[in-house]
Amino acid sequence: MKKRTVYILMSSIVALSVAFFAAIYFFNLESTIKPIVAKVDPSGPPIFTNALYGEFNAPLNKPMDVTKIGEFVYVSDTNNKQVQVFDQSGTSVFKFGKEGTKEGEFKFPYGIAGDKDGNVYVADLYNANISIFDSKGKFLKYFNDKEKLLKSPGGLRIVDKKLYVTDIKANKLFVFNLSGEKLLEIGGAGMEEGKFIAPNAVAVDNDDHIYVTDSGNNRVQVFDKSGKFIKIINGSKDGKGDPTFLNPRGVAVDSKGNVFVVNNLAHNIYAFDKNGKELYELGGMGTENDKLYLPNGLFIDDRDTLFVTDTINQRVSVFY
């Protein structure tokens, strides 16, 4: 090819690009082009934004649950027997707890939740108690489980001054007020409606409906606030067919009433609308940014940001 031809080609490329962007600018086409790349379709699936990894030398090890209290993200860093706390940018700011059975110590820190004063409640599956810390991680006291009901607390959420906790071995969900009086008890071992095998997580929506992940039965059960069974979500149509869930774990509801369920062995998160219709799946097995590998805990904040613990990838992934 002649030198001149090359020059002509190159300059025409430049000219064309200038013309292209000029056209976008002058004809006000940004808004039609940008959404494709940047704007999140509000009805579409949330998109992976970032991940919280913990300190370089002390990464998360089997993070089992996550919650946001104020502006900080608290993660039960289960195999490290501690809680790691992150700021919004994903920097690990501090951590608390160590292995043991005494005050401020953990054997299997699992469900984690905050009250409106910013105190942190951590359920310990093996120690069979719920520890309460201030927002800086100072141990305050144990949750006063007055009737000594808790044998193996797993999933934990606090909503409107009520503490919801699943007991995995007892196969029950308990609802307490914050001073430890039992308000409600659902479950017992079984496969029928209203019974559980190894309930691992709980969530409450804006209508005070209670969602319990019934891991051993591969389903999520929904109850009204008085504990009356409403329906089953298991990935099948109307929840009446065979489950498509495999070892479901974290469950959460966003501001629109969409329900998200972590499917541990399928390495993904299923989303359903208010009526139980499947919307989309997030994740899938892998180590890349938007993938998950044996995910477990799930939390959705008031801005509908999703936090999911990704146990093998040793991180908490954030989807928005």
């Binding site: 299997f108 196969n171 051993g216 774990r249």
Partner: protein, 370 residues
């Protein structure tokens, strides 16, 4: 020039097309259906060879439409068998860590424990890339597979109790007739454990229609079962299998009997002569070890007010139970050499406090030995 351009763009188009169709094939070439989750894998209960077997399988995985696909990812299809390249331990521990409520392998059971947070712990280190041939006493065993849960268990199902594998190394069954040495064909149950329903899970065990029974074990059940159990362990620890003085593979090449390695008999049907008499299968620590009377730390610390005999502090009980052997606690059921004492006490000493002697004239702890 223009001919060349057309040619090039055709090539380019074809390239694009093939890329897209490749993607489409990867996604859809193997539609993960309930009966064919991945090429060459058909649903059904599978034995060690991937063959269909009639035995009931691992929990409710198999009743589930996408069960196989979940461990054998159909989307990451480089190798359709291989699912959890590095994560097998974590996969099993997704459920066996206590979050299923039962069969928490970090808690003491008939198999011992995989917890390494206590004093005197030792275990099959399934989380650390050790090779199967690194087993002490491995002479014939030269397997370079990594030691993991599936070295001993078949997660899909097995004729044996506790999903224990029918072939441990390679494809030869580990079990053989102890007198004729003829292999027991795959599909025959050889690991037969003394299982009883676990009273901690009565609520689950009494459910109707589920078929889920949570059991606990004290080791191999009857006489022949004990020999098979020893054969199972000896698939890897082959040199520890034998009569006191003979039968050990490492002695075979030696001519001078003084160079022989000796061990207590491990291949007999009698009490105390199988691996499970003295060892746990998973691991041990100060909470699972017992003294010669069969007492554990939990028995020693039980407050007198609650019917305990001693009411010791945790510290005192652990100091008493601690294993001080040079080689570590070697997955033992009894601390230090307490197991030997439990049997030999009456023959090596005639000064035993009569309260430790049972009606059969033997040391009380002896009765607990398999």
């Amino acid at each position: 020039m223009s001919k060349l351009r057309i040619g090039l763009s055709t090539v380019f188009m074809l390239m694009l097309l093939s890329i897209f169709s490749a993607v489409a094939f990867a996604e859809d070439g193997v539609p993960p259906t309930s009966t064919n989750p991945a090429p060459g894998i058909h649903v059904g209960d599978v034995d060690n060879f991937g063959n269909q077997s009639t035995h009931r399988t691992h929990g409710n995985f198999q009743n589930n439409t996408n069960s196989c696909a979940n461990c054998h990812s159909t989307h990451n299809g480089e190798d359709e068998m291989l699912l959890m390249k590095d994560g097998e331990y974590e996969l099993c521990m997704s459920c066996h860590d206590g979050t299923m409520g039962f069969y928490d392998v970090t808690k003491g059971s008939g198999a011992g424990t995989f917890d390494d947070s206590h004093l005197s712990s030792s275990m099959h280190n399934v989380d650390s890339d050790l090779l199967v041939k690194q087993a002490p006493g491995a002479v014939k065993n030269t397997s370079t597979d990594i030691l993991e849960c599936s070295s001993c268990h078949n997660p899909h199902g097995s004729a044996n109790d506790r999903l224990l594998k029918e072939t441990v190394i390679g494809t030869t069954p580990f079990a053989y007739n102890p007198t004729t040495f003829v292999s027991v064909p795959v599909g025959t149950k050889t690991i037969n454990l003394a299982l009883t329903e676990d009273p901690d899970y009565t609520a689950i065990n009494t459910l109707t229609g589920g078929g889920l029974k949570i059991t606990k074990s004290i080791g191999p059940k009857d006489t022949l079962d004990k020999q098979y159990y020893s054969q199972f362990c000896s698939a890897c620890h082959d040199d520890y299998y034998g009569k006191r003085s003979s039968g050990r593979p490492s002695n075979a090449t030696k001519t001078d009997t003084h160079d022989y390695l000796f061990s207590h008999t491990t291949n007999s049907t009698s009490q105390g002569r199988n691996c499970a008499a003295c060892h746990y299968a998973h691991g041990t620590d100060v909470t699972t070890l017992t003294d010669a009377l069969g007492q554990k730390v939990a028995d020693l610390t039980k407050p007198v007010a609650d019917g305990g005999k001693y009411g010791w502090t945790e510290e005192k009980a652990e100091a008493y139970m601690k294993d001080v052997s040079v080689k570590g606690s070697s997955l033992k059921k009894y601390t230090n050499m307490a197991i030997c004492f439990a049997c030999h006490a009456t023959s090596i000493s005639n000064q035993i406090d009569p309260k430790y002697i049972g009606p059969d004239g033997r040391f009380i702890g002896r009765g607990l030995i398999r």
